[in-house]
């Protein structure tokens, strides 16, 4: 087995998941200065949408039964829908509230979604077999890589490119970038706030759905708490990438995934259980050296 390419693929696939989750958070932060802590729960919500609502121990496929060509767009739409709905019900009411109040309400929203899932599906984790064939390893430049890892890496790159095009070439993209730079000024110049914000939430929710599909295919389980860990890492990625910077969030997501995999591979056994402590120490060091983030946008705002 070839160690370096193997390490590269392991790192890139974990980083890809983090990058996609971070992008979902950065998009919303960009337009409305909100760190949406409910994002992890959007992921869990999309995962549970795959199975029939029931508290029985054995999960029965619901949306998950659909063929991929139908399932992927429907689940992406589902993610977009819950995000847009939460914007309409919660965040729109708080449009003029200060960022801290909005952040707290995003926590509250997360709790509501999580407890709703607990009430409907019960607290026992469930097994879901979505596309098990994607875990078959294939050989690439001397490394043995599950097909899914390649798909994750390619999808992340694809999503980031499409998003970049959308932001650069379309009207709503231009408006989003303008809003991210200076929201008040953008509105004065005729940018439609509701369209931009709804668009950002829809994209962010679809991102959560994409992460959900990848996680389910990789792990085969659904758990109400499964979004929490990934949300935390994604949030850190957006901070060290530079809040408000979309390419920064993606790059930092990949970076955290890569560092985590390298630490797992390189640390001695006694230190390995403390992998995350090492990882977050590096995050602190990075913030001490570049408090504005590694890839801060020109309009970097002060952090909460």
């Amino acid at each position: 087995m070839n160690a370096v390419p193997q390490l590269f693929f392991d790192a890139a696939s974990l980083g890809g998941i983090y990058a996609m989750a971070a992008l979902g958070i950065a998009l919303i932060f960009g337009v409305m200065n909100l760190v949406n802590f409910a994002h992890g729960e959007y992921i869990a919500f999309c995962v549970f949408a795959l199975i029939v609502p029931s508290s029985d121990a054995v999960a029965v496929m619901f949306l998950g039964k659909a063929p991929a060509i139908l399932l992927i767009p429907v689940l992406l739409a589902f993610g977009a829908l819950i995000a847009v709905a939460s914007e309409y019900v919660v965040f729109r009411q708080l449009r003029n509230a200060n960022p801290v109040a909005m952040m707290i309400s995003s926590f509250a929203l997360g709790f509501v979604i999580q407890n709703a899932l607990l009430a409907v599906y019960g607290s026992r984790p469930k097994a879901i077999s979505l596309w098990p064939d994607l875990n078959t390893p294939v050989s690439v430049v001397g490394a043995s890589v599950p097909l899914l890892q390649l798909i994750v890496i390619i999808t992340t790159l694809l999503v980031v490119s499409v998003l970049a095009l959308l932001l650069k070439k379309t009207r709503v993209g231009l408006e989003m970038r303008a809003a991210a730079e200076n929201f008040t000024m953008a509105r004065l110049l005729g940018v439609r706030a509701n369209v931009v914000i709804t668009g950002a939430f829809a994209l962010s929710g679809a991102m959560a759905a994409a992460v959900a599909m990848i996680m389910v295919t990789q792990t085969g389980v659904a758990d109400v708490r499964m979004g929490g860990q990934i949300m935390l890492v994604a949030f850190i990625a957006t901070v060290i990438g530079g809040l408000g910077s979309l390419p920064g969030a993606v790059a930092a997501g990949f970076l955290i995934g890569a560092v985590s995999v390298v630490l797992q591979a390189a640390l001695p056994l006694e230190a390995r259980p403390f992998r995350d402590a090492f990882l977050y120490t590096l995050v602190i060091v990075s913030l001490l050296l570049r408090p504005q983030g590694l890839f801060a946008s020109a309009s970097a705002k002060p952090r909460v």
Partner: protein, 389 residues
């Protein structure tokens, strides 16, 4: 609102407590939150045993009734739930399935001189070491499960090399691996490598890369984890083409997670009794049917059984002591050596209020179907210094 809540508490307490002459068992358990999935089946089983005892004439000639308080899967709520039940007249407390969550309520019972039983905690701390002299657990120590897997795989499957993959998220997992680490080399096996991961890890690709880098695939992989992390690890290990026999603790018993790895084979867990209808002991299947009658479905995992065992053992000790006094009942429980129960013999001593050796059924999953592959009792009980490690 507050008045209403108080009124409801009082009326519920009186309804539950029944006649003044009743013996009252207090359940400080999670009725909501993530722990509920573990507490509810064991609690249901405990009540099945209470109903059986009542039907047979009660305990000390008195009817047993029960009251309960919700700990909401929250450690802070556990202490107040315990105190509330003691105020309402509980004669003993049954607390959460997990040491960390059940300990505050158990400590409240200890303070009042009452017996407490953890529903299914498998850490040595759930007893004398972590609560006090009147606290017990009804389950089998995690280290015994790991040691059982080690000795069984060497003895029955001719395993020679083992790999240890530890999920460092909770103490239970460390307990299983501690037992395996102690028994496997002692019984002649060779541990060729080890690694750690976290239950919530989105991918264990680098851990798998390390296993695949070994010159020869290990005969067994001791996976010390729980669902969902264990299901996810098994899916990724098998997908990577690693065919070693995978061993785990009782925590992953149940067929509900098997969809995560379709057609899984070569996966083994030790359990106190089989939920699959093939347990060689007829009492176990009789219980499974009683459980189905009470709830509408068979137990989803072996974790219902300790609830039944704890009431069974406690009631026997109360009968022998002729009293409900915590210290007197403890003394009787500590005299138990291989006391027969429906799920095998149980022992307590004045040093360990837990099972440091137990006959376990070995469940093997073949082509996605679990079934009993034999049973095993470790040749040497796990010593206390290993348990306290």
């Amino acid at each position: 609102m507050k008045c209403l809540a108080t009124a409801m508490t009082i009326s519920l307490a009186t309804a539950g407590a029944g006649l003044a002459d009743d013996i009252t068992v207090g359940f400080a358990i999670a009725k909501s939150g993530w722990l509920e999935a573990y507490d509810t089946p064991a609690t249901t089983a405990a009540r099945i045993r209470i109903d059986e005892i009542n039907a047979a004439g009660g305990l000390l000639g008195r009817h047993i009734s029960w009251i309960e308080a919700d700990t909401k899967s929250d450690q802070a709520q556990s202490a107040s739930a315990g105190l509330q039940l003691i105020d309402e007249g509980a004669d003993m407390l049954v607390v959460n399935c997990d040491y960390d969550f059940g300990a505050p309520a158990a400590l409240a019972a200890e303070g009042a001189g009452l017996n407490s039983f953890f529903l299914c905690a498998e850490d040595i701390k759930a007893g004398i070491q972590g609560v006090g002299p009147n606290s017990f657990s009804a389950s089998v120590l995690a280290a015994v499960q790991g040691a059982t897997m080690a000795e069984w795989s060497l003895g029955e499957r001719g395993a020679k090399t083992g790999y240890v993959l530890l999920d460092t998220t909770i103490e239970y997992n460390k307990g299983i691996c501690t037992g395996f680490d102690w028994m496997f080399p002692n019984a002649g096996g060779d541990i060729v490598g080890r690694d750690t991961f976290k239950n919530g890890d989105a991918s264990i690709a680098s851990q798998i890369t390390r296993i695949k880098a070994l010159e020869t695939e290990p005969d067994v992989i001791m996976l010390c984890s729980y669902i969902p992390g264990a299901a996810s690890a098994v899916r990724q290990i098998r997908a990577a083409g690693i065919n070693s026999l995978i061993l785990n603790g009782s925590a992953v018993d149940g067929s509900y997670w098997l969809d995560a790895t379709p057609n899984l084979s070569g996966f083994v867990v030790p359990v106190q009794g089989s939920i699959y209808g093939d347990d060689p002991r007829s009492d176990v299947e009789a219980f499974n049917m009683a459980y189905e009658k009470a709830t509408g479905s068979r137990p989803a995992s072996q974790y219902a059984y300790p609830g039944y065992i704890l009431i069974d053992l406690w009631a026997k000790a109360v009968e022998r002591a002729g009293s409900l006094d915590g210290a007197a009942v403890t003394a009787e429980l500590e005299k138990m050596r291989d006391e027969p129960t429906a799920f095998g013999p149980r022992s307590f001593s004045d040093a360990i209020h837990h099972q440091n050796s137990a006959e376990m059924q070995i469940i093997e999953i073949k082509d996605g179907t679990p079934g009993v592959a034999g049973n095993w009792r470790i040749s040497t009980p796990v010593p206390l210094e290993v348990l306290l490690n």
